[in-house]
């Protein structure tokens, strides 16, 4: 299998890696770079556990090739907090008990961040549709939606 060399930016830092041509970005993040915060729930784009931001858009990193990251900007759950300060979404997820097992949480946080970046005041329905690509089997989504609502309010206060 031939390998390619890739230079990219991950959570603001310049990163270079070698990967096989058919290797997914998710595998690169997890297996080559040790960024195991992004999870694999299906590898077919159906669960959203692997969600990352690629140039400001949410993508399923299991559907993106590692090679495609060349020159792009990638943000993962590991880059959400600023230093030792949690992002309001992270805080609200904790406060609202929006996680039970927590395996879906990284994907939800990334997807919710993307939503709030483009729509600071989403309705409940907008939140539900924006998160419809992320599966959670534990919570029934109620507390996740409430956490996102509360984080949005917090962020609007600035």
């Amino acid at each position: 299998m031939s390998t390619v060399r890739v230079s990219t930016t991950i959570n603001g830092d310049a990163v270079a890696y070698l990967c096989e041509v058919d290797e997914t970005l998710l595998d690169v993040l997890r297996d080559r770079l040790g960024l195991t915060g992004s999870k694999e729930g299906c590898s077919t784009g159906d669960c959203g556990a692997c969600s990352v931001m690629l140039d400001g858009r949410v993508v399923c990193s299991c559907l993106v090739l590692g090679a495609e990251a060349e020159g792009r900007d990638i943000r993962t759950v590991e880059g959400l907090a600023a230093g030792d300060k949690l992002h309001p979404l992270q805080e609200k997820f904790l406060e609202f008990a929006a996680l039970q097992c927590g395996v879906c949480t990284p994907g939800f946080l990334v997807a919710a961040k993307a939503l709030l970046d483009r729509n600071p005041d989403p309705s409940e329905t907008e939140i539900r549709f924006a998160l419809a690509g992320n599966l959670c089997r534990c919570t029934g989504y109620d507390k996740i939606v409430r956490a996102v609502q509360s984080a949005a309010a917090e962020l609007r206060k600035g």
């Binding site: 299998m1 096989e20 058919d22 997890r30 297996d31 040790g34 960024l35 195991t36 915060g37 992004s38 999870k39 694999e40 729930g41 299906c42 590898s43 077919t44 159906d46 669960c47 556990a49 993962t76 759950v77 590991e78 959400l80 949690l86 992270q90 997820f93 904790l94 406060e95 609202f96 008990a97 996680l99 039970q100 097992c101 927590g102 395996v103 879906c104 949480t105 990284p106 946080l109 409940e124 329905t125 939140i127 539900r128 549709f129 998160l131 419809a132 690509g133 992320n134 599966l135 959670c136 089997r137 534990c138 919570t139 029934g140 989504y141 109620d142 507390k143 996740i144 939606v145 409430r146």
Partner: protein, 757 residues
């Protein structure tokens, strides 16, 4: 806090129990630091992959691994021959882990390889040649019971049938529960309704696939990192299958990304260990989602007949259920539990339920949240709903008139202790949801549910640190926030702040045996053991204070985190805090720790009522849940947020089961929808908020009154939604899932029936 007596949970004022502190594992989980099953790596690690049968039923004539073994990068190959056959009890587990002689379902493991990379491992699988003799198969429960059905096991003689059958069949066992004689009861009834129901198999659908990392040393000592609900079970089972001493295998439970009963057995763990032993290197196996669907435990599918009679005044006079469940290729469908729970909500004179445990060419079922109960509740509560309509009685009223209470002889045998069904029913009737107006094409459904809840073997260790903080080691994997609850309980007992206690899930070599986190047992039994371990430590703390003061230990009491002389007569000493005593521990007798080992029994049954509003689109048959409320008895909610979370999660899994989720088998016996795209679990946009009401009727078997809460919440939804849909569509739905084509068919059938009339 008294040291040895139970408190009265109804009147006791708790400091922490009942509050909602942040969970100790929370920050790791929102920052991506938490390590789940697939997140561990080891130097020199190989990748393990499993070859699976494409046939639902086939004799394995031979397996040729020679070509695969020669592929560069392949380090080990294992088949059934690499495992010890061992005791009978383990035979089925082993046969499921690796097919022996026959492949019994599409997805059944037949061989495995370990290689230097995933791509090499995949190539190697393609080079393994398996010579199959394809046999006829059966995947439907009713078909499998017919004489002449393809036979899975030549030696399966139906158990508990007198006289014992002479010939083998696919029926593993019969069971029966009840008292009185339903036929007598039906004669006393004004209205009797009998109906048949069917439910399809569903999968637990945890988002984290099974994953483990095994490492066997040349000295025969092994380590295993795995996402499981029970790492001690994994240790004991794997040790037996690999012929190892239990003490030589150390198993660590990773963070677990959902289980719901599906991670209470072994699948890949013994395989990874066997590969690692052969290769002399660590081996990691992670199931793909397709493998999770094809080869890990779905629940049973069922076919049921229910007959219930009532008087016009709403008294149930007789109840009868016949339940057939297929549990995949091996005996063990949860039909006993289903039959026992069938009528458990009601106080009945004449009741009987009969169950049949059937095998088919499907993956071996694994427990799924209140195993067996939801489908049976679907059938029973549907018939009750219909009866209420027939006699013109409010459905809650009908249930209240027949609700079991303390002293009622349950349909499965014993008399009930203190229970909270009545309180749940009353809370439902008083809830604004119950009387809220409905929109067009909407219907409201209500249903009751019951679950046993379990205790089990539990061991807890609590160490007092030098600075007065506490390290709590439990042995039950945290599947829903239990570390938070355990910290709360320990802090409550010790009288110290919540954040001074840190709980971990210990590995199998650090703490004594613990049963699996299953049966809604963790808050109950690990909680009970934590209370007792804390009380054990308090006894020792008091003894140290007594020593310091030179008085008798009996003259010391523990109050609000301090040792104090019990009365002025005992002496006049300033109270010593936990931290004071901890600091001096090295000079007063050494480390201070509390321990408790127990086989916890007395978990206390629980009941729930669910209320669902469903809108049915008459054109497409699509069902939408408009409003949903869960009312459940928790005994005592330790951390209400996580109790609500259990209620909501169970309800939504039930919504999926009721409306969308099903295993679809083709004529070829292959699973047609082994992925989240075609096996559709509910997403955020499918749902409304899920309202919850926590009812607290203390469990007399627990010092704080705690009852298990994790499972009951999946029992009523199938029926509650079926009742709502039936009301909205004005036709009785008797098959799950109520997917648009099924609902449309029922609506069309009703229209056709009317046209004929």
């Amino acid at each position: 806090m008294p040291l040895d007596s139970n408190i009265d949970p109804a009147t006791h004022k708790f400091n922490l129990v009942g509050t909602r502190p942040l969970r100790p594992d929370g920050v790791d989980k929102v920052t991506g630091r938490a390590k789940f099953g697939a997140d561990a790596n080891a130097p020199g690690m190989l990748v393990g992959k499993i070859l699976r049968s494409p046939h639902p039923h086939a004799r394995i004539r031979s397996i040729n691994t020679a070509k695969a073994a020669k592929l560069p990068g392949v380090k080990a190959i294992v088949t059934a021959a690499d495992f010890k056959e061992g005791k009978r009890a383990l035979r089925d587990v082993l046969c499921n882990v690796m097919a022996r002689g026959k492949a019994l379902y599409d997805g059944h493991a037949v061989a495995a390889v370990a290689a230097t990379s995933a791509s090499v491992a995949r190539k190697a699988l393609k080079l393994i040649q398996v010579d199959y003799e394809i046999l006829p198969h059966v995947t439907d429960v009713d078909e499998a019971m017919k004489p002449g059905a393809p036979l899975l096991h030549d030696d399966m003689i139906t158990a508990h049938v007198d006289p014992a059958p002479k010939k083998p069949s696919n029926v593993a066992a019969r069971c029966e529960f009840g008292h009185g004689d339903p036929e007598v009861g039906f004669k006393q009834a004004d209205v009797v309704i009998e109906r048949s129901f069917r439910t399809e198999a569903t999968h637990q659908g945890y988002i984290e696939p099974h994953a483990c990392l095994a490492s066997m040393g040349m000295d025969g000592q092994g380590e295993l990192w795995v996402c499981t609900q029970g790492h001690y079970m994994v240790r004991n089972t794997c040790a037996a299958l690999l012929g190892m001493d239990v003490s030589k295998l150390r198993v660590t439970a990773s963070e677990i990304g959902g289980g719901f009963g599906g991670k209470t057995t072994v699948f890949i763990e013994p395989v990874a260990l066997a590969l690692s032993r052969k290769a002399g290197k660590p081996v990691k196996i992670v199931m793909s989602r397709e493998e999770v669907f094809r080869a890990s435990g779905p629940t049973s599918s069922s076919s049921m007949d229910v007959k219930i009679g009532v008087t016009k005044a709403g008294r149930i006079t007789g109840a009868l259920a016949e339940i057939r469940m297929q549990g995949g290729a091996f005996a063990g469908a949860p039909v006993e539990l289903g039959a026992m729970s069938a009528f458990a909500c009601y106080d009945l004179e004449h009741v009987k339920s009969v169950g049949w445990d059937v095998v088919t060419n499907r993956p071996k079922q694994a427990a799924y949240r209140a195993p067996g109960a939801p489908m049976v509740a679907f059938a029973v509560e549907s018939v009750l709903d219909e009866l209420a309509r027939k006699i013109g009685m409010d459905p809650i009223e009908l249930r209240l008139k027949n609700a079991a209470k303390e002293g009622t002889q349950s349909s499965y045998g014993p008399k009930y202790n203190r229970i909270g069904l009545r309180q749940c029913l009353e809370a439902t009737r008083n809830h604004p949801h119950y009387t809220a107006p409905l929109g067009p094409n909407e219907g409201r459904g209500v249903a009751a549910g019951f679950w046993f809840n379990f205790g089990g073997q539990t061991c807890v260790s609590l160490n007092i640190n030098i600075d007065g903080t506490v390290a709590l080691a439990v042995g039950t994997p945290d599947i829903g926030g239990s570390r938070a609850s355990m910290c709360m309980i320990a802090a409550e007992e010790l009288g110290i702040p919540y954040d001074k206690v840190r709980a971990i899930v210990a590995d199998t070599s650090s703490l004594g045996y613990n049963d699996i986190s299953e049966g809604s047992r963790v808050t109950f039994s690990t909680g009970l053991a934590t209370i007792q371990a804390a009380r054990d430590a308090i006894g020792k703390l008091c003894a140290r204070a007594a020593k310091t003061w030179g008085i008798s230990p009996e003259a010391v009491v523990w109050e609000n985190g301090h040792a104090k002389p019990s009365s002025p007569n005992a002496g006049d000493f300033a109270p010593l805090s936990l931290a004071d005593i901890a600091k001096k521990a090295g000079n007063t007798g050494g480390p201070i720790a509390g321990h408790f080992e127990v086989n916890a029994d007395g978990a206390g049954v629980s009941f729930a009522i669910h209320l669902a509003d469903a809108a049915v689109d008459p054109e497409t048959g699509r069902v939408q849940i408009k409003r949903y409320t869960v009312i459940q008895d928790a005994g005592k909610a330790v951390h209400p947020s996580y109790v609500e979370g259990q209620f909501q999660g169970g309800a939504v899994q039930g919504i999926g089961w009721a409306l969308n989720e099903e295993y679809v088998y083709g004529k070829d016996g292959r699973l047609q929808n082994a992925g989240f795209l075609d096996y559709r679990i509910p997403v955020a946009s499918d749902l409304p908020m899920i309202d919850t009401v926590i009812v607290e009727v203390p469990n007399p078997g627990h010092p704080y009154g705690v009852r298990g809460v994790g499972e009951t919440s999946i029992v009523p939804p199938l029926a509650a939604i079926a009742n709502a849909v039936s009301a909205a569509a004005d036709v009785r739905l008797t098959e799950l899932p109520m997917s648009p084509p099924r609902v449309l068919k029922a609506i069309d059938g009703k229209a056709a029936g009317k046209a004929r009339r």
